[in-house]
């Protein structure tokens, strides 16, 4: 029997979440040790004896045994939750109590509980994302550093610091309380959105790595949708925007890692299945009176997705959606995208005017696509040497080889036109 892809990584998240509920959040490190031990046993036994019938159940059962050993060993050295303490008082009650703690109805919500706990208000967004990747998605610090184009020590530090905040919070987030759930869910949405964007717009030059980050964000959003309190219009809108954008990933990055602008993407590469799923989520998001940013972004993504050719894009509608979005979130990145949409609707000169009107453009100064957008618009106005200067500036801000190659191709195009 073969193992399903990423089985260990995903089971790691579930098992750590369950054991942390049982051990208490202050014993997160112990939960992680126990899960490590269960995986070592799986590697040992499965490589000699083959994969069991139900690998997930085997892993959880092994984790349960290892947990029992850990509780026996650590009972005096650590403090556990009162119910765990009582359970430890007697050998007779220990096994049935473990069965109860590991029961299917109990472990069902563990992943979601941990997701909400990771989105602790005392943590910055990047800390939340690092925790989600480490605890829920089972990535090591080295793997996260690779995906986010950072260094393992920097990520290690970020994770350690975030785990301290989590451990100090005293207990895991209580997802059964509707008012607390509702208060925390925007932070969860934001963290999942950040995680998705790390994959979609992130700095990693490897398309496989980025697609994996997008898939993890989508998987966790699906977990949120399984909960009746989580299945709200804005969560559906978030899921829609992820599916509709992820559907375009195969056209955005070719297998060689070359970046393609929306203009010259091969639309036949877009993932039709994801597109259909995204449109279905978009429909489900339409309930209720509240319009979230995710609704607007998903609507924009759907207009791109539904245009069979670039020239079929409904730019007028896209501009009006950006007008709405900028009222909700007046960020320079939104303003930049709005200016690009205006250029498509009204021509490059109008687009440049809209770019000049961006408030706080200095916040875009490290973002290569601001310079790149200026360059494209000057290019379309026929000012090839100005375009070339801006592409050169964009190239100096490029975060990886793939982006540099993309800008090199554009600089060459300017030179071909005498720029």
């Amino acid at each position: 029997m073969d193992l399903s892809e990423h089985l260990f990584r995903r089971e790691s998240g579930r098992m750590v979440a369950t054991l942390t509920r049982i051990f208490g959040v202050q014993n997160l490190a112990l939960a992680e040790d126990v899960v490590q031990e269960a995986f070592c046993r799986a590697v040992d036994v499965w490589s000699f004896r083959g994969v069991p019938e139900n690998p997930s159940a085997w892993l959880m059962a092994t984790a349960k045994h290892c947990a029992l050993d850990a509780l026996r060993r650590e009972r005096t050295a650590r403090t556990f939750a009162p119910e765990v303490g009582r359970m430890l008082e007697s050998e007779w009650t220990r096994a049935p109590a473990m069965e109860e703690l590991f029961g299917a109805h109990k472990i069902k919500d563990d992943l979601l509980r941990m997701m909400f706990s990771c989105c602790h208000p005392g943590l910055p967004g990047e800390g939340q994302v690092a925790l989600i990747l480490n605890i829920l998605c089972g990535f090591s610090a080295g793997e996260i550093a690779h995906a986010l184009v950072s260094t393992p020590p920097a990520i290690e530090k970020r994770i350690t610091r975030s785990k301290k905040v989590l451990a100090r919070s005293g207990k895991l987030f209580e997802i059964a309380a509707p008012d607390q759930f509702t208060a925390r869910i925007p932070a969860v949405h934001t963290a999942l959105y950040l995680l998705f964007n790390e994959g979609y717009h992130g700095a990693s030059p490897e398309s496989a790595v980025r697609a994996e980050l997008c898939r993890e964000a989508m998987r966790l959003t699906a977990v949120l949708l399984e909960n009746p309190l989580g299945a709200r219009p804005d969560t559906y809108a978030l899921a829609a925007l992820m599916c509709l954008n992820a559907a375009r990933l195969p056209g955005r990055l070719d297998p060689a890692g070359n970046l393609h602008a929306l203009l010259d993407q091969d639309r036949s590469l877009w993932d039709q299945e994801l597109m259909a799923e995204g449109l279905k989520f978009l429909e489900l998001s339409a309930a209720g009176a509240e319009l979230s940013e995710y609704h607007v972004e998903a609507a924009i993504a759907s207009l791109h997705a539904m245009a069979p050719r670039m020239e079929d894009t409904d730019w007028a509608k896209i501009v009006s959606l950006y007008d709405t979005l900028i009222r909700m979130n007046p960020s320079p990145v939104v303003a930049l995208n709005r200016a690009i949409a205006i250029a498509h609707r009204d021509g490059p000169e109008r687009g440049l005017e809209a770019m000049q009107a961006i408030a706080a453009p200095d916040r875009l100064s490290a973002y290569p696509f601001y310079e790149a957008a200026l360059a494209e618009l000057h290019f379309r106005c026929g000012r090839y040497s100005v375009a070339r200067q801006h592409f050169t500036a964009a190239r100096s801000l490029a975060r990886n080889r793939m982006e540099r190659q993309f800008f090199d191709r554009r600089i060459e195009a300017c030179e071909r036109h005498g720029g």
Partner: protein
């Protein structure tokens, strides 16, 4: 064909879940290949690191073996090969070699009548 015992030592399992799964998959495919080619006589067992060591005429029982990590026996299997050189060649495919471990190849003594 002759029987050989492979003794695996110093199995240092990688740290991240993804790497672990990859490592396990390599073991599974190595075992599968050995079996498919008729070399796997007995798939053996993995061994726990710590146990007891019973020693000497006094039958002293101690916790152990507490060897250095690279010397700890991690498991064993029995393979069939043409000769010792062939058995050593087959052992080169073992994934333990990628994680700092070793394979000791020992012919099983057969009583010759």
């Amino acid at each position: 064909m002759t029987e050989f015992t492979y003794i695996f030592r110093g199995r240092n399992i990688p740290a991240s879940p993804e790497e672990r799964q990859k490592h396990l998959e390599k073991w599974m495919s190595w075992f599968k290949d050995l079996g498919a080619q008729g070399h796997l006589k007995d798939p053996g067992h993995p061994l726990e690191d710590a146990g007891k060591v019973v020693n000497g005429a006094g039958k002293m029982v101690k916790d152990g073996p507490f060897a250095e990590a690279k010397d700890v026996v991690a498991g064993y299997i029995v393979v069939l090969a043409n000769d010792l050189a062939h058995a050593a060649e087959l052992a080169k495919g073992c994934p333990i070699l990628e994680v700092g471990g070793s394979v000791e190849v020992r012919p099983v003594q057969i009583l010759k009548m």
